[in-house]
């Protein structure tokens, strides 16, 4: 019954080509020797070499990396706690508000999240800079982490935890010895995704940044508004490469995690 018709195949190919062609074109153009973006002047890596001399760009990239590492780590910790709270604590008081605050940032336009965060920092008169961007990114990313880890915790065999507790382990010991190893791949994957989200974000960073904390997307945005340039093609291609590697690694880890979860369940039922 499930058959792939010619129409299905065409839809699939067109869909995937539509998604990937613009990215491929961008990467190909980044190797264009010609200064004129529209004219093909042969292959060259000169634009990548030119990036090494662009000091403001390099410092922006360094700031972005630091923000991404710190905020991804904080978001993973907070998001994992939130996921545990949502799946293992039943219906505690204020759960509805809690769940709402997890889901709302996922769909809230970034302009609003950014604006409100900035107004908070102004109201409590905090100097904006590196740490305010980190807080902004942590808040946005922790919700993604919570949703990913939560989905892992939901299809997780609770009897494994119950067995540990029956044998006298405290909830904290159970979490560390049983739950954590099983959800670790999901946690690692979330960290990488949070890292990618932070590295990519323009809007929240623009609102929450201050002097001396220009991130890479802010820098790229100010250049890109003026038009297309070969240097920007090269920077964007590099970012695609970094994020691509992180995301593929993350998804392989999740798959590994799912496989390991099944294995554990089989072992548990075998005993």
């Amino acid at each position: 019954m499930r058959k792939l018709s010619a129409f299905n195949l065409a839809a699939l190919c067109v869909g995937i080509a539509f998604l990937y062609l613009p990215i491929v074109i961008l990467v190909v153009y980044s190797f264009n020797a010609s200064r004129l973006v529209a004219v093909w002047g042969g292959w060259s890596t000169s634009w990548y070499a030119a990036l090494a001399d662009d000091a403001p760009l390099l410092s922006a990239a360094f700031i972005s990396l630091r923000v991404a590492v710190v905020s991804a780590s904080a978001a993973t910790l907070l998001g994992t706690l939130a996921a545990v709270a949502l799946t293992r604590f039943g219906r505690f008081r204020g759960r509805l508000l809690f769940a709402s605050m997890i889901y709302a940032p996922l769909v809230m336009p970034e302009v609003i999240t950014g604006l409100s965060m900035l107004l908070l920092f102004v109201a409590v008169s905090v100097d904006r800079g590196f740490w305010t961007v980190v807080v902004g990114h942590t808040t946005m990313a922790m919700c993604f982490v919570a949703v990913i880890v939560q989905s892992r915790l939901v299809d997780f065999d609770v009897s494994l935890e119950e067995a540990a507790m029956d044998l006298g382990a405290s909830p904290a010991q159970t979490f560390i010895a049983v739950t954590l190893p099983l959800i670790l791949p999901a946690i690692t994957a979330s960290w990488m995704l949070a890292f990618a989200l932070s590295l990519d974000d323009l809007v929240i960073a623009s609102f929450t940044t201050g002097p001396g904390a220009t991130t890479l997307p802010i820098r790229i945005y100010s250049e890109v508004r003026l038009g297309v340039s070969p240097e920007m093609n090269a920077v964007c291609s590099l970012m695609i490469a970094v994020v691509g590697v992180a995301v593929i690694a993350a998804s392989l880890l999740t798959k590994l995690g799912a496989a390991r979860g099944v294995q554990a369940r089989v072992q548990a039922s075998g005993v």
Partner: protein, 303 residues
């Protein structure tokens, strides 16, 4: 003593993320609400009234007396903002419709592929989403520019006489929006279609129902939850989208996200920016509540 320690630990697990979200998501929101009721001032912070707790009750009373709805009255009376809201909703709605029409055949085809290949396809669809929106839109600026690949392709095949202008048009905005939000539409649709009970289709076929009619009477109605989820996931953020209309659209496609940005960064009119944001949130609250209701129901259905 031991159980005290346990509940303390449990309290931390809930309390830490809870406190973080209250401090950095809920509180900022209340502040936006407050500032939207304030007036611009040549001061730091650039609005009045400022809550002066040191002045005690008197200060609090003065603070509340200083609040006013003037900004909202201003928004309602200025056709520029009203038009901007209408335009944003219109563009987001039409983009969502386009996304639905384009994504449905793709999602449907994904369910027809051999099962072991499907996870790879899902990954292939998600992957572009993780590269920066800014970069993906920039890639389209490359393609759509005056002497870019698209126009040269059209000229080479003699499809046009004069290279058409793409950038700074609504068409470019629609292309950018459909491109950027495609995964958000394809994945919920795929998730619903994938769960569809095959035997229903077989039953319809056995009873002599033509394929198109089976699709219309069985597949489509059963995929409504996926359609709703996908439409909401796209529509809500699209209304407030900033990067896409800013880089691909012209000055005529002034969406509300751009209005907030300009009021804030160019005009430094914080109270107006806050009021624009509050009205936008109010417009989006209904779909967000529907979305939440849906996610909670699916989450509970799965567990």
């Amino acid at each position: 003593m031991k159980s005290n320690g346990r509940s303390f630990l449990a309290g931390l697990v809930v309390g830490i993320p809870y406190a973080w979200l209250v401090a950095f998501f809920l509180a900022p929101f209340l502040i936006v609400l407050k500032i939207s009721l304030s007036q611009t001032a040549m001061a730091q912070p650039p609005y009045v009234p400022v809550l002066d707790l040191a002045a005690g009750w008197h200060g609090i009373a003065r603070f509340f007396a200083g609040l006013s709805l003037d900004n909202y009255v201003f928004l309602g009376s200025d056709p520029l903002y009203v038009l901007s809201y209408v335009k944003s909703i219109e563009i987001a709605a039409f983009s969502t419709l386009l996304l639905l029409v384009i994504s449905y055949p793709v999602s449907y085809a994904m369910t027809r592929v051999p099962r072991r290949l499907q996870p790879a396809l899902v990954l292939l669809i998600i992957l572009p989403f993780w590269t920066s929106l800014l970069i993906r839109i920039y890639a389209w600026m490359n393609i759509l520019q005056h002497d870019g690949p698209l126009n040269r392709l059209l000229l080479a095949f003699d499809l046009v006489r004069e290279p058409p202008v793409w950038l700074s048009t609504n068409t470019a905005v629609y292309i950018g929006m459909v491109y950027s939000y495609l995964p958000f539409m394809v994945l919920p649709l795929y998730a619903t279609l994938e769960k569809l009970d095959e035997t229903l289709l077989e039953a319809a076929a056995d009873l002599g129902c033509p394929r198109w009619k089976t699709f219309w009477l069985v597949t489509l109605p059963l995929s409504v939850p996926g359609v709703v989820a996908g439409a909401l996931l796209c529509f809500i953020p699209l209304v407030g989208e900033f990067v896409i209309p800013d880089l691909l659209g012209g000055s005529r496609t002034a969406m509300i996200g751009q209005a907030i940005w300009t009021e804030f960064f160019a005009n430094k009119d914080w109270p107006t920016a806050a009021a624009v944001a509050v009205v936008l949130v109010c417009l989006l609250v209904t779909p967000i509540v529907i979305f939440q209701h849906q996610t909670m129901r699916t989450a509970e259905g799965d567990s």
